[in-house]
Symmetry: C2
Subunit: 403 residues, 2 copies
């Protein structure tokens, strides 16, 4: 199921005015890049969304403050160490990373954002990071967006890049995003870092609104293992270099921009699920006709996070009884005798009972893409959640992550 480099848009054009560089600071294993710098030629309008975990990494706290200014120009990212549960020293380290980057790039310090991903609770190896930042700044433009996407990976098996081009009033606007995911992926933002760049001219409030809408139906609708990270961050940089008329919330162009941003976010979130740790299958859980949307979301997440459901899918077992059990304890309203379930198009349960078609469904589950469709026949609420199966490899990866 892992996508190859070739299947991604490695040669996609990127928004005007964004430059990249990467370096190796020996935070991850030797031979792997673990620092990336994304920088815009011009100051950007910035928007961001962050983990709702009460335990937030130092760089998250820093960025949450900075993004309130709505302005930014560069993001420095390290993989291998999350700089979480690191106390005051962690805050000092995050600020120092920003400060050195700013002085190397001759930017105001407040225009530089910091993101970290990796192991929680280990002090940042600043002695190795510090001397590499100048190199990053000097090499700006020598790396591609692909290199940057690779440098932010941890247990990811492929870099994740998505681009969209739209025409706004005769001007071409590009939106490109890179992200990393893999484990600790769960509702309400994940060990996920996502950087979206656009050359659109847009104001802060419109960008915030577009991002919020995009995240709600993409990054907040995926789950690998139900664990929520301390570091989840989505940052959007809009540098205005496309020369389009300024997009405000009331602009005719707003919807087109927001849709494109949502499409990029959705495609990126799908890549994260496809690269779920140890996953062999991509799973879409769709619940229809729930009492309301919130209920549908609850039920879809209950199924997507059920270890028993995920292992059954891994085993090509159309064990819809486990779906029923998960729905029943999700807290959503259900009527057992009204529930229809289809697995890759094969109706295995009708009115809450077996249709006798499990064997046929088992065959269909051999596919790498699974669609679970549940109709509750109760109301008009619906939700879609993306997830993956649970395999022995997930256990192997996470039992040995730090060793």
């Amino acid at each position: 199921m892992k996508l190859s480099y070739q299947m991604l848009n490695m040669n996609t054009k990127i928004p005007k005015g964004f430059l990249f560089s990467t370096a190796e600071a020996a935070i991850k294993k030797p031979g792997r890049k673990d620092l990336a710098l994304i920088c815009s030629e011009r100051e950007c309008v910035m928007s961001g969304m962050f983990t709702t975990n009460a335990v937030k990494a130092a760089p998250v706290k820093l960025d949450m403050k900075r993004v309130k200014t709505g302005k930014g120009q560069a993001i420095i990212i390290n993989s291998g160490n999350a700089n979480a549960c690191s106390g005051e020293q962690g805050m000092r380290d995050a600020r120092e990373m920003a400060a050195i980057t700013a002085s190397s790039l001759k930017l105001k310090e407040s225009r530089v954002y910091v993101c970290s991903t990796g192991v929680i609770g280990t002090p940042m190896p600043m002695e190795r990071i510090r001397p590499k930042i100048g190199e990053l700044a000097r090499n700006l433009g020598k790396a591609t967006i692909d290199d940057a996407a690779a440098a932010i990976m941890t247990t990811d098996t492929f870099p994740k890049i998505v681009s969209r081009r739209i025409k706004l009033g005769g001007k071409t606007v590009m939106i490109s995003g890179v992200c990393k995911g893999a484990g600790m992926i769960c509702p309400a933002m994940a060990t996920m870092l996502c950087f979206i760049m656009t050359d659109a001219r847009i104001d802060k409030s419109a960008l915030d609104t577009a991002l919020k809408g995009a995240v709600r139906k993409s990054f907040n609708r995926i789950t690998i293992d139900g664990d929520m990270s301390t570091n989840d961050t989505v940052l959007v940089m809009a540098n205005g270099m496309a020369g389009n008329e300024l997009i405000e919330k009331k602009s005719p162009a707003f919807n087109a921009f927001a849709s494109a941003l949502a499409a990029v976010s959705y495609a990126l979130s799908k890549l994260i699920v496809q690269d779920g740790e140890g996953a062999t299958k991509f799973v879409e859980v769709e619940i229809k006709n729930a009492r309301n949307d919130a209920d549908a979301e609850k039920g879809a997440f209950a199924i997507a996070n059920s270890m028993l459901v995920k292992t059954a899918l891994y085993g090509n077992d159309a064990n819809w009884g486990r779906l029923m059990a998960a729905l029943g304890c999700s807290g959503m309203a259900i009527k057992e005798g009204k529930i229809d379930i289809a697995l890759n198009g094969v109706k295995t349960a009708s009115k809450g009972m077996s249709t006798g078609r499990d064997k046929e469904a088992n065959e269909k589950l051999r596919s790498k893409e699974i669609k679970i469709s549940i109709d509750l026949h109760l109301g008009e609420g619906s939700a879609k959640v993306l997830t993956c199966d649970l395999t022995g490899d997930y256990v192997k990866i996470n039992a040995g992550y730090r060793t």
Copy 2:
């Protein structure tokens, strides 16, 4: 970690007047007993607690009604098929099992309880069960409590039996329980069937109260995989044959009885966790000084159900950062800078930060018994939850359960 038969009290005396028999009805694989009958010589005071899953198996619905009478004398149990998501036919099958049992034993039908455990959503093979019930009744007394405990197993690897003896006013009262667990084990009752027998004389209201207290701190405080079953049932039968003075809620003997019942329940719930599917480690999560008990329970379950925590424990990895992340998204109140964490006695985090003792803790985690102690320094709430690690074998067992 699996306990051997020898480690259990296989020769424990059981309460007076309880008889057992078992049979093979080819519901499970050939050569395995899958029917058990527990019967008291005298009518019993009955109490029961059941799954809170909105999807309830047919026998659960039947027993929930019958237990309101407070009376019962026999329980017929099958393993291999849960009789859940089975509609009206499932209800007819459960009632028929009770009816045949009652007529074979010459009991009122309403005094017979039915329990099922196994695959959800497959019709009950009544053609194979029906003819075996007479045999069960005829053979009553030929099987031991050990045989009964073995016949109710599904993926369990050992039978689970616990007994306690107490003296009440000069009379010896015995409490013996058998249960089965293994997977789909989660808060608020699990794929767990538990049958507790006692020869105590006790009234319905006192028995209900004692059971509720016992379950709250035992079966409702364990989790294997966070999945809640459709069939969870605890039934207690008290036949009064010990000849003790009737226990009422106000009796001086009530506390002694309730404590003994709680001890039996706790020991049984511990056995369920020790036999968690694929588990190699028994894990106790204790949270102290939370804002309140409910908060502490939330946090302890968030940790106990975190796949990342469970895989780290399997890998002997003192990855306390994952505990912090799980606490942070549990919904409980925390102050990151106040959290202390100890793993098998080694303090790995102090005030939310590393103490640098991870390697020492890794060594301690090689033990088969893990104690996670978390002090939040916020209030006076506490909770203890039992769980196990997550292994490749859990995935193997559940990916191939029906094949």
